[in-house]
């Protein structure tokens, strides 16, 4: 639909995403003079500026709200700079503001000026996982009794269906604990932690969010199941040496029991 109305709206949408004040900008002031009536109190460019300011305030505050851990690491000045970079590079394209920060990790990867870039990247990935898990599809958890009905000879070929409200995340920093400390600290003066790799299972149980650190072997095994591999194939994926094999064989029963009780498994296929 290419017409006068659409062309006007397209240009106005570009104006509203401008980073700088429109009345100071000759080109946008001319655009406003041409299309907007203005009144005795506000010029056309000042009226258009009301909407531009709202675009930036609304979207910046949505990011700040959804990524409190990231904000706690960065502090207000760096966070605002990152939000500006993000909103300049990434066009909001979902009707739902919940999706606004979906590409934050990729922008953080390009933001080499950040003081704690790797930590920020991990925090953004974790907070995105929380967002996704929070309102993912509800599925009834598999009962431990149902799991017990798998015959031993069929065990290796069975496939466990991992619930939609589960995300698996390898991080280089203990960001789950850092986020909890930041939230508990009113003034947010929390020391930045050193590196410490973690394999996290982010999940929802009875409408509560949880993150659970697991061993690398358990994580790889669970990731295999989540990708649709059979129990046997997922176990092979997780075993990269004798130690891993020993851990897997001694723990697999307890893991499956725990993951079932925690609602990570929704079915057996």
């Amino acid at each position: 639909m290419s017409d006068g109305l659409s062309a006007l709206q397209q240009r106005m949408a570009e104006a509203l995403r401008e980073q700088h004040s429109l009345p100071q900008h000759a080109q946008w002031s001319a655009f406003a003079e041409q299309h907007i009536a203005g009144n005795a109190r506000l010029s056309p460019a000042q009226q258009l500026e009301i909407y531009r300011e709202q675009f930036w305030l609304r979207h910046t505050s949505a990011l700040v709200e959804d990524f409190p851990g990231l904000g706690g690491i960065l502090g207000q000045e760096e966070w605002e700079k990152l939000a500006e970079q993000y909103l300049t590079e990434v066009t909001p394209d979902s009707y739902d503001l919940r999706d606004l920060g979906a590409r934050l990790p990729e922008v953080i990867e390009r933001a080499t000026w950040l003081s704690h870039q790797a930590l920020c990247l991990d925090m953004a990935r974790l907070e995105l996982a929380y967002i996704e898990v929070f309102d993912a599809r509800d599925t009834p958890p598999l009962s431990p009794e149902r799991l017990a009905t798998i015959p031993e000879e069929a065990f290796a070929d069975a496939r466990l269906v991992i619930a939609p409200s589960v995300r698996l995340l390898s991080v280089r920093y203990p960001v789950g604990n850092l986020r909890r400390k930041l939230r508990a600290s009113a003034d947010q003066t929390v020391p930045i932690p050193g590196p410490g790799q973690q394999h996290l299972v982010v999940y929802r149980l009875e409408r509560q969010l949880w993150d659970m650190p697991v061993s690398k072997v358990a994580f790889t095994f669970l990731a295999g199941l989540a990708s649709g591999k059979t129990l046997g194939a997922a176990a092979e994926l997780a075993v990269d040496g004798p130690e891993a094999e020993a851990e897997l064989s001694s723990s697999i029963g307890a893991w499956l029991q725990e993951w079932t009780v925690k609602g990570l498994v929704s079915d057996v296929a």
């Binding site: 659409s6 203005g38 503001l97 907070e127 939609p164």
Partner: protein, 319 residues
């Protein structure tokens, strides 16, 4: 085409369902005729928001109000959005679905705002076509709300009330008549709010919105952050006198007060509604209700978001 007239039932006086009140509503089941939800907060697949919605639905009627349709924009309506909206309407059994006379983005960008429309025949055609399509698709009565605006276009060839009346009549849809928005836009653009109220097709008003706003002197922003001021209630009384008993909702989305304050505000509106109905019927006016809350004058307008805070992962304690 879905039959959509006569206008739907009068639900009474309701309030917006907002996160800070969930606990009190679910524990105490206060007297409220109905709740309105922001549709976009529930176009999801599971988790806490839908759980709470279902619990509220067990006790109250709910109407759905959207903020993301952008019906008059250059891009065609988003089919995925409409499909989810329809599924939610089936879940809530909303008697109607509403959104705004506005556009919200262009070229795939979504600006999450209720942007003003040039009031032209071209915009009428586009809005009418889409409103018909959406109403048929949703299979429930559809209504559009007059939005507040902070600018007008030189290309407009008709007034806002002429525009919304023509769209509503030609598309055969309802109006969600926001009386506060009439007041806000009248101040911002210097037109007569009473003429607006007199001129719309009253038989098409499905629902009325009332809210507070922020007067910055040079312009008013529709912030929904305080009590409804008396001049807006005067317009509301006039609207009811002309339109009859119409479902009425108090919106309060920023600086959200405790639930009793909001319920008192709803009772204040109910009294004015009774006055409007008395005027309509030529009866004596009921005894005046005491004003419950002073109008809030604020100057710190920040990134205001319709519907108040979302229920989101950010507010959760992760264990």
């Amino acid at each position: 085409m879905t039959a959509r007239q006569p206008p739907p039932l009068d639900l009474g006086v309701g309030i917006g369902l907002r996160v800070p009140h969930y606990a009190a509503i679910l524990a105490e089941h206060p007297h409220v005729d109905f709740f309105e939800v922001i549709s976009e907060n529930f176009l999801i697949e599971g988790g806490k928001p839908l759980y709470h919605l279902d619990r509220v639905l067990e006790h109250y009627p709910i109407v759905q109000h959207g903020v993301s349709l952008g019906i008059a924009g250059p891009d065609e309506p988003d089919r995925t959005y409409l499909t989810r909206l329809k599924a939610l309407a089936r879940r809530t059994k909303t008697p109607w679905v509403s959104d705004h006379f506005c556009w919200s983005g262009a070229g795939g960008a979504h600006l999450h705002d209720l942007l003003p429309i040039p009031y032209t025949p071209e915009a009428v055609r586009r809005t009418v076509e889409r409103a018909r399509m959406i109403q048929d698709f949703l299979e429930v009565p559809f209504a559009l709300e007059n939005a507040s605006s902070y600018l007008t276009f030189r290309s407009s060839t008709m007034s806002e009330w002429e525009f919304i009346s023509e769209v509503a009549d030609r598309a055969d849809i309802g109006l969600l008549f926001d009386v506060n928005n009439v007041y806000v836009s009248a101040y911002n653009h210097g037109f007569d709010a009473h003429e607006f109220v007199r001129s719309v097709p009253h038989q098409r008003i499905f629902q009325i919105h009332l809210a507070g706003h922020t007067n910055l002197g040079t312009h008013i922003i529709d912030t929904h952050n305080g009590a409804v001021i008396d001049p807006v209630l005067d317009l509301y009384r006039q609207t009811i006198a002309l339109a009859g008993s119409v479902s009425t909702l108090i919106e309060w989305d920023d600086d959200i007060p405790a639930l009793p304050v909001l319920l008192a505000e709803a009772e204040r509106a109910r009294h004015v509604r009774d006055e409007g109905l008395a005027l309509r019927d030529g009866r004596p006016l009921p005894v005046a209700a005491a004003s419950t809350t002073a109008a809030v004058a604020r100057t710190d307008v920040t990134g205001w978001k319709q519907g108040g805070p979302r229920e989101s992962a950010a507010h959760e304690t992760v264990r």
